[in-house]
């Protein structure tokens, strides 16, 4: 019987497999200095995931943790703006590209820092843009891997990965990294709940440990009178029950969150006594417990 694919050892000298293994080894070596890696994800866009990531990073950094944030949303990067590092120059050295430094020493990597202007989309040089759908996903996965592996993060207690909305990036990251878990952010609407259920199932398929559900925009806080009004008709508790995830926090919408976000300032630190600030701090405490206490060391 003639030889089949599996009968032939190696790749005949084209050396692709060796390079892929070397690339993975480089990423592993870089990530070995990062104690915990947590993805922040959502089933759909517009649920406030990036703002939540920025606030969590700020609270934990203020607590003395060494925190990094990777903006994994290559096509809609916002972490540089939210953490006030837009326009910073990245320093290149033989050990890699040093991240931008945000408030409280948060180390930030975002595609936004490499693009020339606000309206410049992320596009790729190629011999042809025809059939770009064939390679675009691979190119983005490689870019994510490079941003992770070639950034001189140094020693970190926590790397938060702010994912783009929707499903595709979570499996990609799960393939690249040994994630310690993922937070699922949602809003209390039926539509959001539907996509969360799909995301939860996808995460489980790829072996991603889901730390819990965060209900964002859980009511509207009137800054003038301090009352909390209804914003969406649903509630995160029933969604948590349906999806089998613990509900980690219910964070009300406070217009000052948007104000702070636009100025690259952490709302949770500027308004620590507000209901939103307290909910975010409680979430950070819960995350700390999940990652570093409750026998969570892996």
């Amino acid at each position: 019987m003639p030889k089949r694919y599996r009968d032939i050892v190696g790749d005949g000298g084209s050396n692709i497999l060796v390079q892929v293994e070397e690339i993975q080894a480089r990423l592993r070596a870089r990530m070995a200095r990062v104690r915990k890696k947590v993805a922040v994800t959502s089933g759909k866009g517009g649920v406030g995931k990036s703002v939540l990531t920025a606030n969590l990073a700020s609270i934990l950094a203020a607590d003395g943790r060494r925190v990094g944030v990777l903006d994994a949303d290559l096509n809609g990067p916002s972490m540089a703006k939210l953490l006030g590092v837009r326009g910073q120059h990245l320093h290149l050295s033989p050990v890699g590209v040093h991240p931008a430094e945000g408030p409280l020493g948060i180390r930030v990597r975002s595609m936004d820092l490499l693009l020339p202007e606000d309206r410049a989309p992320l596009t790729w040089e190629a011999p042809t843009q025809q059939d770009a759908f064939v390679w675009r996903g691979t190119m983005e996965a490689t870019a994510l891997r490079e941003l992770l592996a070639d950034t001189a993060w140094g020693d970190l207690d926590l790397l938060l990965l702010d994912l783009p909305p929707g499903a595709p990036t979570l499996p990609t990251l799960a393939g690249l990294l040994d994630l310690d878990g993922a937070l699922v952010v949602t809003i209390p609407s039926e539509v959001a709940g539907l996509v969360v259920s799909r995301l939860v199932e996808l995460a489980r398929t790829h072996g991603v440990r889901l730390l819990g559900l965060v209900e964002n925009m859980a009511g509207y806080l009137c800054v003038a009178c301090g009352t909390l009004g209804e914003l969406f008709p649903g509630d995160g508790e029933s969604l948590a029950e349906t999806s089998g995830l613990p509900l980690l926090a219910r964070i009300p919408f406070d217009p000052r969150i948007a104000w702070c976000a636009d100025r690259g300032r952490p709302y949770a630190l500027e308004h620590p006594e507000s209901p939103g600030g307290q909910a975010l701090r409680a979430l950070a405490a819960r995350l700390r417990a999940l990652l570093w206490e409750e026998g969570a060391e892996r």
């Binding site: 032939i8 084209s14 050396n15």
Partner: protein, 141 residues
């Protein structure tokens, strides 16, 4: 992808890679028993797919540089996004600087650092276009 010489039932060995030219790469393989050669000619989409993996067919002489794919492939790049420390004792002549400026903005600092280091390690104090050509050929670009 693996190649098998049907006549000999022998795995073929990588021989050489040329290109890309007009979006196509020519990868040659040969049978170690009968010497029969075949060439794989990629179409532009296949070329780009390999490029997007961040690997070089046939292997590398030196490890990949930081952000290699991002620096060479992001179409619109911010000027001055990356900064690099100076390499002491190495001077770039004007023509070499001009050649450096033809690279994408994100690729310049790394090229500047790598070529300056290459010059210094060989005891040269000046970077010229000829030295850049030598470096490029040595690194298999």
């Amino acid at each position: 992808m693996k190649f098998l010489c049907v006549g000999c039932d022998e795995p073929m060995r990588f021989h050489s890679v040329e290109g890309p030219e007009e979006g196509s790469v020519r990868v040659s393989f040969g049978c170690p028993r009968c010497g029969h050669r075949v060439a794989l000619l990629t179409n532009p989409v296949e070329t780009q797919l390999v490029r997007s993996l961040g690997v070089k067919i046939g292997g590398r002489e030196v490890p990949p540089e930081p952000l290699e794919v991002v620096r060479m492939s992001v179409a619109r790049q911010r000027e001055g996004a990356l900064e690099v420390e100076g390499e002491e004792g190495v001077v770039w002549v004007e023509a070499a600087e001009a050649r450096l400026q033809r690279l994408p903005p994100l690729a310049r600092p790394m090229a500047w650092m790598a070529i300056s280091r290459y010059a210094r390690e060989r005891g040269w104090t000046t970077v010229t276009p000829e030295l850049m050509g030598e470096y490029r050929a040595r690194m298999g670009f």
